[in-house]
């Protein structure tokens, strides 16, 4: 009985699927799906190699400091870093005094309460504060940015397909729309306040090109601040903000894998030892029997057949 019911249930599901399949094929033939501008012109991120890549990757402190400088002088005007505390920059090699100075000189102040009147006020940041957000709230952010919301950058390297390579590609990817694109998809022309960038999912984004000319930032370590260099540095910095414990993780990983390899080899030897007496013993028979193989070899040698 179970099998009879099952038989019909199975054929029922399969039948409905076949109907779906045929109607789907008919629809596709009668009205082929046309490729969208995004499908044809959206580009995968460029290749980007960073010191933090790979299982042994470590951050390049100098690069992170340069990236932080780009963030501070360019990105921070619109993008928050709300999950990172100023004190965390210690990991980039800044000393306590430098951290205090960074906090004290931060352009945006921290919301607080006037201790005398209880009214809303602001105060200077201190190292234990998280980076103050550039806008009081989402409405303020949208009002200042043509109704677009600049995303918080703390986790951006993990929140986008492609990670740091995506950040780097986006920052260096602004250009005029390809003529073929405009010919084929006139609607893909960037609207008012939008900028064409093939690395962005819908090709047009509201962020104006933030890094436009060499020397926009003057690096303290004398590195030439080309657009590509600044983009790369800030992408590296954002890997750190998204995954500040990356170096600890890599270090711990190496130690754990070495330990587990050692333990597993010992475990395997113990297993071999315990099973020595109980292991099945397979006597080779037929052509695999060494005695028979020797006979074959002898016969071959005698009759002069190679191999």
């Amino acid at each position: 009985m179970v099998r009879v019911i099952a038989f019909f249930v199975g054929l029922g599901f399969a039948g409905v699927l076949l109907i779906s399949l045929f109607i789907g094929i008919a629809d596709t033939i009668s009205a082929p799906v046309e490729a969208t501008a995004e499908e044809e012109f959206h580009k995968h991120p460029k290749h980007l190699a960073l010191a933090s890549d790979g299982p042994l990757g470590k951050f390049d402190e100098q690069q992170l400091q340069r990236g932080f400088q780009v963030y501070k002088e360019v990105c921070a005007a619109c993008h928050g870093l709300s999950l990172v505390a100023i004190r965390d920059l210690h990991a980039l090699g800044y000393e306590e005094a430098e951290l205090k100075a960074i906090a004290n000189q931060w352009a945006i102040e921290v919301p607080s309460v006037n201790p005398d009147t209880g009214e809303a006020a602001t105060r200077k940041a201190i190292p234990s504060d998280r980076f103050p957000s550039p806008y009081a709230n989402e409405t303020a952010a949208r009002a200042a940015n043509n109704n677009a919301l600049p995303p918080d950058l703390s986790l951006i390297a993990k929140a986008r397909e492609g990670g740091a390579a995506y950040t780097y590609s986006l920052l260096t990817g602004y250009r005029n729309p390809e003529p073929e694109l405009l010919k084929k998809f006139p609607a893909a022309k960037p609207g008012a306040g939008l900028y064409y960038n093939p690395y962005f999912a819908n090709l047009n984004l509201a962020m104006p090109p933030p890094l436009t000319s060499e020397g926009q930032v003057t690096y303290a370590d004398g590195t030439r601040a080309t657009v590509a260099q600044m983009s790369k540095d800030v992408a590296a910095f954002l890997v750190w903000t998204a995954e500040p414990k990356l170096e600890n993780r890599h270090r711990a990983g190496i130690a754990v894998v070495i330990f587990l390899l050692f333990a597993t080899v010992l475990g395997y030897l113990a297993y071999q030892n315990i099973w020595r007496e109980a292991k099945r013993k397979v006597a080779p028979v037929g052509v695999l029997d060494p005695a028979n193989q020797a006979k074959v070899r002898r016969a071959k040698a005698k009759s002069g057949i190679a191999g």
Partner: protein
């Protein structure tokens, strides 16, 4: 235990004796996973995955309990509390990555465990209840994993919750009220998050309890084995400890190395970038996809595209539930008396087609729904149902099976005269092969 030669527990000390007379817990453990449980001696490495599932359940419970100490189940605070764990809690990144990837590994070993059962006929009499309790564990795992994925309250958490609870609204009349009742509101919000956290903490302990039943029911007939032939005599078996504890032990080390490689060097490989964006009820992600371990079911859900008598969505939801529920009937669908696929040439071919089919479904579930992907998922879904509901019963009826070995020990010893039995119970085999010309 059922076999007469199972070694009884003998307390080794006066204290052990004292305990045994009052609370025979050591006796229970000895009989369950110690020297008192005789196991077929011919198990291959596919039999290691049950223990491995237990290992990963333990990892999930231990890491989960500590994570819960730092997690804050609120729509405003959940996302940031997870980041607080990642940044400020001592080894918090390790706990969270171990928990997130531990879930994936739990599913990997469980899927291998399930497919091992399918191939070797472990669901067949007298182990039907072992199989069904295993399926209950699997369903509980799915519920737990889904609710756990909602907790960080990222974009995929939120929209995954929206889509999955939306399944219920496919049912006419009662569907929408059930969905609202489950969520505690019209959309996922604080009420849903709080109850998901509560249940996510509860269910693993329910799983642990069902695992006890699963093992208990297994120990009545004893473990199955690659030949599918019943245990007949003592030399067919070895005591679980030390033989299988040693085998499970080193193999667990091997799997933990793989786990460590993912956990320490590619911890986000199996996740979705969108879940690092805080949940936003006003912005739907471009592609909503569940975690990888649900992708085959997601493909089944999306395969139904035509309103044929019932709405397409309802067909999809019914098929998705049916795809798991039909497994409960498997022991009665496949009535072939031969358990092991090794002795069933026709079944073996279809088994591998099924494995490929499920992988194709997983691929289709994770791909953008182009016409080709939809067509492939429709064919693969149809095969899935036809395989279990039509092909298996027919094979069982018409297949000519191969000759089974007379006993496990015969299949292991390959005609060798000297038995190399458990230590101490038989004379040593000669050191060298004595195959004569």
């Amino acid at each position: 235990m059922s076999f007469s030669w199972a070694k009884p527990y003998e307390p080794k000390s006066a204290f052990g004796q004292w305990i045994d007379e009052r609370l025979p817990l050591p006796r229970l453990v000895y009989g369950a996973i110690g020297g008192g449980y005789p196991v077929p001696r011919n198990l291959n490495y596919f039999w290691n995955f049950g223990v491995l599932a237990g290992v990963f359940l333990t990892i999930q419970i231990v890491t989960g309990i500590v994570l819960a100490m730092h997690f804050y189940a609120s729509v405003d605070g959940a996302f940031n509390s997870v980041e607080h764990i990642m940044r400020d809690v001592n080894a918090g990144w390790l706990l969270r990555y171990a928990h997130a990837n531990g879930a994936s590994f739990f599913f990997i070993v469980t899927y291998i465990h399930i497919f091992r059962g399918l191939f070797y006929g472990s669901h067949k009499a007298p182990r039907e209840l072992v199989w069904m309790l295993g399926l209950v564990i699997y369903l509980l795992m799915m519920a737990t994993a889904f609710m756990g994925y909602v907790l960080p309250w990222g974009q995929m958490s939120y929209w995954g919750a929206q889509v999955i609870t939306g399944f219920f609204s496919a049912f006419p009349v009662v569907g929408e009220p059930i969905r609202i009742w489950l969520l505690g509101g019209y959309t996922p919000d604080q009420a849903a998050l709080t109850r998901f956290f509560s249940l996510h903490y509860l269910l693993p302990f329910v799983i642990a309890a069902v695992v006890v039943l699963h093992i208990w029911s297994l120990h009545i007939p004893g473990s199955s084995n690659p030949t599918g032939v019943d245990v007949k005599e003592e030399r067919d078996t070895l005591p679980f400890h030390p033989f299988y504890t040693a085998k499970d032990g080193w193999f667990a080390g091997l799997v933990l190395i793989l786990f460590a490689l993912v956990l320490y060097f590619a911890p986000n490989m199996l996740g979705h970038p969108d879940n690092y964006i805080p949940a936003n009820p006003l912005a739907t992600p471009a592609h909503i996809a569940p975690e990888w371990y649900f992708l085959p079911f997601y493909a089944i859900l999306k395969a139904f595209t035509v309103d044929f008598i019932l709405p397409a969505k309802l067909w999809g939801v019914l098929a998705m539930f049916a795809s798991i529920l039909l497994l409960f009937f498997l022991p009665w669908l496949d009535k072939s008396p031969v358990r092991s696929g090794n002795y069933r040439p026709l079944f073996k071919r279809f088994f591998w087609i099924l494995v490929a089919d499920v992988l194709v479904l997983g691929w289709a579930g994770g791909s953008t729904a182009t016409p080709i992907v939809v067509a492939v998922s429709q064919i693969a879904t149809a095969y899935y149902f036809v395989h279990f509901l039509v092909i298996l019963p027919l094979i069982a009826r018409y297949e000519t099976t191969l000759a089974l070995p007379n006993s496990i020990s015969e299949s292991v010893l390959h005609g060798e005269q000297m038995e190399s039995a458990p230590i101490g119970s038989a004379p040593r085999a000669p050191a060298t092969s004595t195959a004569a010309e």
